[in-house]
């Protein structure tokens, strides 16, 4: 009886179908991502290559185990993390344009990387002397450091800035200030270093090795785990902090957890994959439109599935199957994603998503 009130039968069945559909889609994308790239590997040999069975070409085993599998897993994890972060930011700021980077996490990471790549030119041997331009792990460290610094700043400021809009503006201003510093570094840098920095800023799911992938998945699991404790709190925040407070919620603690979870999630992705735009802002909208709800009990599992699928699809397209070219991931997400979101937004009825703007 309470089930019917909770969710009319039609809605529930449709949602189950959607969940099933996205699971299938993710499986299909996984297979395709393993099969296609600069060389095509027949579908029937993929399983063999995955478990390293005798008789499968060694180069295929190597490509799948050390290149394509980590790449597709990175893509899926990054998609989940960015979507989870974006959802929390949109709900907390009750702003449909909020994305994982709205508080300047990516600016912090960019500054870290910019200092590592560009700044090393100025301070000569003093700073990161062993850094070669392709050294991914140094970049991860530099980006983590930058993102972590901003995260600490956000948590600190978030404790005594009560008004979310104020926090939003502070984040924006911080982003601008950081970008200015990055521009300054770029302005005085040698072309090849600028090139290296640009490559990082385009974003990439490649080049994350298994060790890094392990670190990344643990952090993302923790961030998503934190969010999984919050569906009730996030639902309450949809009505605004005042309502949440009068419903007996500890809004201060809630906000702190949201900030922590969202910032860690976006920070870790930026550190390992670069600043990847679009997914974090788009996936929550897709989820709300498809599942026709703002209820986070449904949205959280939904964005996990949709986020993984969207990100894997973008990664697959970026490989331009059949060619030797690889596109920057940001180009793909924006070029293919933007028209899709335009379509979703134009199609929706007034206020059919979570926020009436």
């Amino acid at each position: 009886m309470n089930q019917t009130l909770n969710s009319p039968a039609g809605h529930q069945t449709k949602r189950l179908w959607l969940f099933g559909l996205f699971l299938l889609l993710i499986l299909a994308l996984l297979l395709l991502s393993l099969a296609f790239g600069s060389v095509s590997i027949p579908l029937k040999d993929i399983w063999g290559a995955l478990i390293g069975r005798e008789g499968v070409r060694e180069s295929w085993v190597y490509i799948i185990q050390n290149s394509r599998l980590p790449r597709v897993l990175t893509a899926a994890l990054a998609g989940i993390a960015l979507s989870a972060s974006g959802l929390q930011m949109q709900t907390m700021f009750r702003n449909p344009l909020a994305d994982p980077f709205i508080l300047g996490i990516n600016s912090g990471a960019s500054l870290g990387v910019a200092i590592a790549i560009l700044g090393s030119g100025f301070v000569g041997g003093l700073f990161l002397p062993a850094l070669n331009l392709g050294g991914e792990f140094s970049l991860v460290l530099a980006a983590s450091f930058g993102a972590g610094l901003v995260l600490a700043l956000i948590l600190l400021v978030g404790r005594w800035v009560q008004n979310p809009t104020t926090l939003l503006i502070l984040g924006l201003m911080f982003g601008h200030a950081t970008s200015a510093l990055v521009s300054l570094l770029v302005y005085f840098s040698a072309p090849e270093r600028i090139q290296a920095y640009s490559v990082w800023s385009f974003g990439s799911f490649s080049g994350v090795n298994w060790t890094q992938l392990t670190v990344m998945s643990i952090v993302i699991l923790a961030g998503v785990g934190l969010m999984a404790l919050l569906p009730k709190g996030l639902n309450a925040l949809l009505l605004g902090e005042d309502y949440a407070r009068t419903m007996g919620l500890n809004v201060g603690l809630l906000r702190l957890i949201v900030l922590l979870s969202a910032s860690v999630l976006s920070g870790v992705v930026t550190a390992f994959c670069g600043p990847i735009g679009f997914i974090g802002v788009a996936v929550p909208h897709i989820a709300r439109n498809l599942f026709k709800t703002s209820n986070h009990k449904i949205l959280i599992p939904a964005i996990i599935l949709i986020g993984a699928a969207v990100s894997m699809a973008a990664s697959l397209i970026a490989q331009l199957p059949g060619s030797q070219l690889v596109l920057p991931i940001n180009v793909v997400t924006s070029l293919f994603g933007a028209p899709f979101v335009v379509w979703v937004v134009l199609k929706r009825k007034r206020g059919a998503t979570s926020f009436n703007v």
Binding site: M1, N2, L5, N6, P8, R94, L229, P231, K232, N235, A236, L238, L239, G240, D242, Y243, R245, T246, M247, G248, L249, N250, R288, K292, T293, S294, N295, K297, K349, R350, G351, A352, T353, S354, F355, N356
Partner: protein
């Protein structure tokens, strides 16, 4: 079963402490980080009982919202005491307080893809656990609340498809689902059309008298407040609050004193505000019935003082209902003219 039990228990508590909200020497305002706080109002001694519907009225900007935010714990008080069911407000755990008082805030919520029953069920948050598992009893309360407010038919509709009036009722339902002793509303009628306002005020009155809630609402709809409230808290520019039955406040002139300002006058006879006539031009009006009432309003608007006796030299308007046709006869400067609409009548009178 659980519902009945809870209700019985609730009634016992209410008999023990009839006063739901009480303030003693309460001072409200804003703390400006170390500097001297900005005091909006102080020495407030207010009381609100179960079953009572109180309207908080006063000119714009006197601090009605600040008072409401203070007594619901959304904003810290400056000094004095706020007692909720006899216990000091700040000693409540947030969850316990949520079971005592719930709110409907001014600004409309911006949430879209959410159904009416989902939103109402959010009122059960203080009673559900971390993952918001609703028991049968919780859903029973939600259904009962939707029925009491009269929106049970909307329960599967999406919030963004509702009219403003329907949405406001649902917000009231959500607040009620918290099963509070005190319901606080900040200008719940602000975005509604006139019939919508009457419906909401009726509902609030019923919740107080029929369901033993204490209801406190701020409003700018003075005539509705005068009609529906059991008591008025009249707040003036100095932050002082006069309490009393609406009729008492009208008759002792408090109402007029608080709201009168240049060009506007509170008329205790009609219970409405009227533009003050500028005085110089006067008109004599005679006749009976509703036509005279409306003619007088039109003349007031046009800037005439309507006299009870005819002063030589001023226009003389006579309303003459003849069978089904109403005509207005005007004698002015020796001429007599007849009109069939008030609009035409106003055209010839001297500006």
């Amino acid at each position: 079963m659980g519902g009945i039990k809870a209700k019985t228990r609730c009634h016992i508590v209410q008999r023990l402490t009839p006063s739901v909200l009480q303030t003693k020497a309460l001072s409200i305002g804003y703390k400006n980080g170390g500097k001297t706080p900005k005091v909006i109002a102080d020495q407030l001694n207010l009381q609100l009982n179960a079953g009572e519907f109180v309207c908080l009225v006063g000119p714009n900007g006197v601090g009605k919202s600040t008072l409401l935010r203070s007594v619901t714990g959304l904003q810290p008080k400056l000094d004095g005491e706020i007692l909720m069911s006899g216990q000091r407000l700040e000693t409540y755990h947030p969850r316990e307080l949520a079971g005592q008082v719930s709110v409907v805030l001014t600004s409309p919520i911006s949430v879209g893809a959410m159904r009416v029953d989902e939103l109402t069920a959010m009122g059960r948050f203080p009673f559900t656990g971390l993952f918001d598992r609703m028991t049968d009893h919780d859903w029973e309360v939600v259904r009962e609340t939707l029925r009491v407010v009269g929106v049970e038919k909307l329960s599967n509709r999406y919030i963004h498809t509702l009219s403003d009036g329907e949405r406001q009722k649902v917000m009231i339902a959500r607040a009620l689902a918290q099963e509070p002793r005190l319901l606080v509303l900040d200008e719940p009628t602000a975005y509604l059309d006139l019939p919508g306002r009457v419906v909401v005020m009726n509902l609030l009155h019923d919740l107080a008298s029929g369901h033993d809630k204490a209801v406190l609402t701020s409003t700018h709809d003075l005539d509705l407040a005068l009609r529906h409230a059991d008591r008025i808290w009249l707040m003036d520019d100095a932050g002082q609050i006069i309490q009393g039955a609406p009729e008492d406040l009208v008759l002792n002139g408090s109402f007029a004193q608080t709201f009168n300002r240049a060009g506007v006058r509170f008329d205790p006879l009609s219970g409405t505000f009227e533009t003050q006539n500028s005085g110089s031009k006067s008109v004599f009006l005679e006749g009976v019935g509703p036509e005279v009432v409306w003619t007088r309003r039109a003349l007031h608007r046009a800037g005439f003082a309507v006299d009870e006796e005819w002063i030589p030299g001023s226009p003389r308007v006579c309303v003459m209902p003849q069978n089904d046709i109403i005509t207005w006869q005007v004698e002015f400067e020796g001429q007599t003219k007849t009109f069939t609409t008030i609009y035409d009548l106003l055209q010839i009178l001297p500006k």
